[in-house]
Amino acid sequence: MKKGIFSRNFSLIVTIVLFLLLFTAGSLRYRGFFSAQVFLNLFIDNAYLIIIAVGMTFVLISGGIDISVASVVAFVGMLSAYLLRNGWNPYLVMLLMLLIGSTGGFLMGYIIHYFKIQPFIATLAGQFLYRGACFIISTSSILIDNPVYSTIANYQIKLAPRTYISISVVIALIVVIAGAITAKFSKFGRAVYAVGGNEQSANLMGLPVARIKISVYVLSGFCAALGGIVFSFYTLSGYGLQNIGLEMDAIASSVIGGTLLTGGVGSVVGSMFGVLIQGIIQTIIIFQGNLSSWWTKVAVASLLCLFIVLQRVISANRERIRRRMLNDS
């Protein structure tokens, strides 16, 4: 049975091992890299992305795609900053943001399912809408000086002297755990996999496909909004040009973590590691500290490429190894 776990989660394990290798390589090469705080910063700096990637993972598993998330984050930041400046209650604002994100997700999911609009296009329209809405609120950035927000933003949960995490990290971890449990241990989660595997079959098997597909976008919208809130803790401001291209980061994280864009395969924990891997690549680049802008791009891409190819090659060979083992037994 133990072997079963290993072989079922093989790609996840490969991902984690490669991540650890990257971390080790960084530690060996750069002074100050090997420290608990550098590791924890990966979570602190990427908490919002982890949250968004969890929502994205469900969408991708269901066979869809949601490229509106980046704009949702920007919009949430913008609108909360605006409302807070006008003296709204911060908790009410947060609640409202989650509601808006979910509703937006619902609308997109609705037209995707019932009107058969391609997910890419429906969410692209969503992306433009949210982005446009930001500039309707204001074209310049708005500061958040609400005490509740600042307190949450600046609160450090000390794990040891000079080692801490932020509240956002806790939120992100809760989302990951909840997401992982939902994916594996709930009817809804399994139905998402089924729909992604074969929507027609899922329908014939009597699964409520409409509800599942729409829920997935609601979930993604919710996570994006939550990610937006966490991001506004992170920057304590709202800005309409924030996070352009973030959806690609979320999608890439998910894919690095083993999700198939064709649907049906993927894991929430994998996506978290996808985020961490992108984070650590970024960290390595920063520690390298002498790369010009263009070399930065090339280096990020090369590391990413190296990683994906390694992952791919190992997985492909594993298939061969497994077969051989089967043949022998």
Partner: protein, 343 residues
């Protein structure tokens, strides 16, 4: 009637026409075409000129999407090819300085090389297309900047500037030369698709790669070819874009143009999941996207509202394209259609 509305190209074309009609009423001078320096001059002519790069990209993108993939690196390839061409024209690369022909050939080769790289990752290493091309998307701008050493190359005073400028902004027989490039490329690709089995194989492998392989289609080879074509298209687009501004701007040339290209393909009514495709429809899609941009400028839409406007236009258009939407919203016609079928 039904035949027409179910034709794939009907809706993008209709949308394009509606946009033109709208402009006829609300945009001052939109349809005015005059003759200037022996060529036609007007908004419509600008649309023909400016839509050329997007049209080329959407041709490549249509083919890639037909295989069930996507190529998000085209924007970076645009930057690379522009950087190479302009560096040579400007004589700062150290080889083939100021040679017009070498500039073109090397730029096109760079596109082919990029396409081959993408194709290799997708077809041979079997990395998912979006992520495979993400690599070049990220690296590409860096490479372009390496070529130009991070500078914006301006070729205003280069010896072959005139010839180079002609490609993207010159006029031939009164019309933009770039438009003729699109026509030529379109014709060649259509011949490839319709007069050889390439189109059939593409649709087949986009629909069911397993069956296609078992039917003897060289799935990997075709994918490789398709990404290469896409890279080539991007490099031509890169030449046109850099030529039009007499310079290579590695940071911004072709930025986010992959979204517009995918959008054009989708507006053309092609499925983004692969399978059946129609290149002319994608071209009309590109025409629509460009026309929308020009309209926005001509109407003086406030910049803050452009995103919103675009979103709404896309949504409305796609909803009309959707059979289920038409059936649900215009129930009356839906029933009428059913009656017609039964009869």
């Amino acid at each position: 009637m039904k035949k027409i509305t179910t034709n794939q190209i009907f809706w993008p074309l209709a949308a394009f026409i509606v946009l033109l009609v709208y402009n006829a009423f609300f945009a001052k001078n939109f349809f005015k075409i005059s003759i200037l320096d022996g060529h036609l001059y007007g908004n419509l002519i600008d649309i023909l000129k400016n839509f050329a790069p997007l049209a080329l990209l959407s041709i490549g993108m249509t083919l890639v999407i037909a295989t069930g993939g996507v190529d998000i690196s085209v924007g970076s390839v645009v930057a690379i090819s522009g950087a190479i061409a302009c560096s040579i024209i400007d004589g700062r690369l150290g080889i083939f300085d100021h040679s017009f022909v070498a500039a073109l050939i090397l730029a096109l080769l760079s596109g082919i090389a990029c396409g081959l790289w993408n194709g290799f990752l997708v077809a041979k290493v079997k990395i998912q297309p979006m992520v495979a091309t993400l690599i070049l998307m990220t690296a590409g701008r860096g490479i372009a900047q390496l070529i130009t050493k991070g500078k914006i190359v301006t070729i205003n005073s280069a010896p072959m500037m005139k010839e180079y400028y002609f490609l993207g902004a010159g006029y031939f027989l009164g019309l933009p030369f770039a438009f003729f490039i699109v026509v030529a490329v379109f014709t060649i690709v259509m011949i490839l698709v319709k007069r050889t089995a390439f189109g059939l194989f593409l649709q087949s492998l986009g629909t069911n790669p397993k069956s296609s392989r078992l039917s003897g289609i060289k799935v990997d080879r075709i994918k490789l070819v398709v990404y290469t074509i896409s890279g080539l298209m991007a490099s031509i687009a890169g030449i046109l874009i850099s030529s039009n501004i007499k310079g290579a701007d590695c940071n911004n040339a072709g930025l986010f143009i992959e979204l517009d290209a995918i959008l054009s393909v989708a507006i053309g009514g092609n499925s983004l999941n692969g399978g059946r495709f129609m290149i002319p429809a994608s071209i009309v899609g590109a025409l629509f996207v460009q026309c929308l941009t020009t309209t926005v400028y001509a109407l003086g839409v406030p910049p803050e509202a452009i995103s919103l406007l675009k979103a709404i236009v896309i949504l409305v258009l796609c909803l009309f394209q959707s059979d289920s939407f038409r059936q649900k919203v215009f129930k009356g016609t839906g029933r009428w259609r059913k009656g017609a079928d039964a009869a």
